[in-house]
Amino acid sequence: MARAATTADVFNAVAEPRRRELLDLLAAGERSVAELAQATGLVQPQVSKHLRVLREVGAVAVREEGRRRLYRAHGPALKPIHDWVAGYERLWSERFAALDDVLEELKERAGGDDR
């Protein structure tokens, strides 16, 4: 269980597809473990385990409401990864925009036929 060394930062915490799924759900609003389990098809202990990893890196916050514990996404912790991915995305978007121009020309050259 205690594998903290490999999950100690937000990049790794978010890299796991199931945890991203949970984050997506939590970004839409607060949920309990039971609700998350139902929405993802995971069993509750699995959900709890993933939530623990996300909480360790601050990506998820929790509050008590009566006997329920409600989880929510905590955006600021996700900012570093968001910024990095967004920067890389910009790089490739520029590249593809230039590729679009090349492709337009190839299409024209390919025969002047429509399309």
Binding site: F11, A15, D100, D101, V102
Partner: protein
């Protein structure tokens, strides 16, 4: 014709980066643009500098090398690798090394999938460790390089 559609970058696992973009052309043309040196020269720069060399020896075991001079800083940015698998109009598997950090080799799989005359291009980069992946992501951070370096330091510190 839209030219502002952005690439989608996701992290399918801790050692992979996946880049996806749909292109408005049949895959034969995308393949051509992707594998012909004079054409690669015209898009690989990402508007961040001047391409100085594109070498493509398109056969399994053949080498490739792309180099450019960065507009900001004027230094050379170069990548090279070797083709491992080639399926014309479908798939390219190659190794990829950033010459600034030659100890880290990525394995890149590019997939060309066509539907209705459009091509979905997928570039999947697989590296040996999460640190390498994060360093790759940091290459897009020209506007916040210091932030990236700080983060890299933190990341490295938290791994050990």
């Amino acid at each position: 014709m839209t030219t502002t559609r952005s690439a989608q970058v996701t992290l399918p696992s801790e050692t992979e980066v996946l880049i996806v973009r749909e292109l408005d052309a049949p895959r034969e043309l995308v393949w051509q643009a992707y594998t012909t040196p004079e054409l690669v020269r015209r898009w690989w720069h990402a508007r961040r500098g001047e391409v100085t060399s594109i070498e493509i020896d398109l056969r399994v075991g053949g080498r490739w090398r792309y180099a450019m001079t960065a507009a900001r800083g004027g230094f050379e940015v170069a990548f090279h690798g070797e083709y491992r698998e080639l399926a014309p109009n479908e798939r390219i598997v190659s190794t990829e090394v950033y010459e600034g950090a030659p100890e880290h080799e990525a394995l890149t799989t590019v997939t060309f999938a066509e539907a209705d005359g459009r091509t979905r291009l997928e570039i999947r980069q697989r590296v040996a460790s999460r640190e390498v992946r994060d360093a790759i992501l940091a290459t897009g951070m020209e506007d916040g390089l210091q932030d990236a370096l700080d983060l890299l330091e933190q990341t490295a510190g938290s791994v050990r």
